[in-house]
Symmetry: C2
Subunit: 339 residues, 2 copies
């Protein structure tokens, strides 16, 4: 019997199996379904359907006398269903979470990672998109005690970076401001790249002393390095210990080590511009993540930049909840970074 189509009842049963497995992490038996979900059908009937579903590749048996476990294909179906009617509801809780403590650009991302990992109880990742062609908007020296000054660079996108440099002790606030003005005049509108080049060439003309100029060059270089690559923040990494899939320490360690390899993770988050993406087990492409799922949502920054927030956890995962948590946090991020 060539059972190609999967009818409504099969789908209901499959759904029930997945739901139960997500809850319990144990292979699901026909009896369980007949009792808890499809009370009008006997276990024998369910068995027949399960057998079909297995043949179709939606279920697998760890061993012959165990219940069934959903396959990647089953999760795929389940998730695709879910993605169709994903309500983009903004969440007050997410917004409230941020209101507490966000000081600087970087804080936004760590806070986001914390929020997601707290809401979902999984490991959260937040990607901050790279920004090319950052242009200097303002450059200012703020006096500090004992012959130091804080050099602040603000870019047109509102990114801020600062560093402490040494300056001659007899420069007071006004003098530093005068220097700041000159510097801003010369350098505003330039890319970080250009700033570095110019500092080599014209250093004398601008009247700054060598230490200041060196400080600017260093900071510009650093900013460029940091902004030219995507950066990744991970939160709640040891949440996995909560899940029986990782009750083996070796596995947990492997997982945690994999998290350290930010480049690979980044690739996972970056390759996606759709609002939501779910990569299940082998679909991640990373052997270390073979029994994990990676759920990501992208958020917008400005007009054409996309970042991503995501959750990494066992394939058995309440995808619906995770998706809405990600969506909520993503929206807050877009709002916060939009300004």
């Amino acid at each position: 019997m060539a059972v190609h189509p999967i009818d409504a009842r099969k789908e209901r049963i499959l759904h029930a199996i997945i739901d139960d497995y997500i809850q319990t992490a144990m292979p699901v038996g026909s009896r369980t379904i007949s009792r808890k979900y499809e009370t009008s059908l006997s276990s024998a009937t369910i068995r027949n359907e399960m057998s079909d579903l297995e043949e179709l590749g939606y279920l697998a048996q760890p061993h012959v006398s165990a219940g069934r476990v959903p396959s990647v294909k089953a999760y795929r179906l389940y998730v695709d269903d879910l993605l169709e009617d994903q309500p983009p509801r903004p969440d007050a809780r997410a917004r409230e979470f941020f209101s507490r403590r966000v000081r600087q650009m970087e804080d936004v991302f760590t806070t986001a990672a914390q929020a997601i990992s707290e809401f979902t109880r999984y490991t959260a990742v937040v990607m901050m998109p790279k920004q090319t062609e950052l242009r200097v908007s303002t450059l200012q020296l703020v006096p500090m005690p004992r012959g130091a000054a804080l050099l602040v660079i603000v870019t047109d996108t509102g990114a801020i970076r600062d560093t402490v440099i040494r300056v001659s002790e007899n420069l007071d606030g006004d003098a530093l401001y005068a220097i700041s003005r000159t510097l801003t005049e010369h350098l505003a509108g330039r890319t970080l790249q250009e700033v570095q080049e110019m500092l080599g060439a014209y250093s004398r003309q601008m009247g700054g002393d060598a230490q200041v100029l060196q400080g600017i060059a260093d900071l510009a270089a650093q900013m460029e390095r940091q902004s030219a690559t995507d950066t990744l923040t991970v939160g709640g990494s040891h949440n996995i210990l909560n899940y029986p899939e990782y009750s083996d320490v070796e596995k947990a360690r492997a997982f945690l080590s994999a998290l350290e390899e930010k480049e690979k993770l980044m690739a996972l988050l970056a390759e996606n511009r759709r609002p939501f993406a779910v990569r299940i087990g082998p679909e991640t492409g990373l052997p270390e993540m073979a029994d994990c799922s990676v759920v990501t949502a992208s958020y917008q920054v400005g007009v054409d930049h996309h970042g991503a927030v995501g959750v990494i956890g066992p394939t058995r995962m309440p995808y619906g909840q995770v998706l809405s948590a990600l969506s909520a946090v993503g929206q807050v991020l877009t709002e916060m970074l939009g300004e």
Copy 2:
């Protein structure tokens, strides 16, 4: 036979047992000692000595036919020996570690935590001492695109904090600087506390607009909160998974949860002003840490402030190495924060 004194040979043997146990995490048998450490003595002799040491409370047997395991008392002896001749050698590696990436105050501490956890392969904690009576040194508004400004507060100790606030769009750099000057004039030398109070009272006189003043008040309040309490940075928390003591996931999770309770940890680090301290198992006073040791070193900040760096791991720990790593990082911290 009242065997009260512990002679040189007993001490050598005890040392050997501890060393071996630190390496292997397995109960040490008499044969092992006789072969690897005291080759001139037979296992039977060692057995006799071990039996004495057990009676003296230095050794314990998990069960009758297992080898011996050092007791807390043994570690205590071992560590006290170690502490006597601790060479305070500064370590080039530690300094080099910092040279890479330290931008701001906070970075110093996370870097320190990373350095320690990388050197020792244990969980590292770094305490940053609270600073009371911070006084404002400079207060400056740096123009940003689109009606925003970066408010920077610098204190007399060189702590820097900033926040983005909204300002009227028609204030240019010079106008902002003028405001900054006035503000600095009024507020320099005041404590953060006073700044908050003054902003309530005199707000009109200073000619700033309400948003600016509110921003300052908020930031001052935040700075005060942050600096008035000790803060703790934890690094390498999942290093414990490397040790067989924590091959049980439940234990590992308990440990990681305990790390979240920063107040309790802080108490451990704070109560010590001596250059080094080792608290072994129950000595920590925390039931969650009953089979951990906490090794701490204090470092100096300025004239009279003390911070602490520390390592938390299983009682079986290469104390010597840990102490010198801590000492090295502590010294670098003192240097860096001394400026």
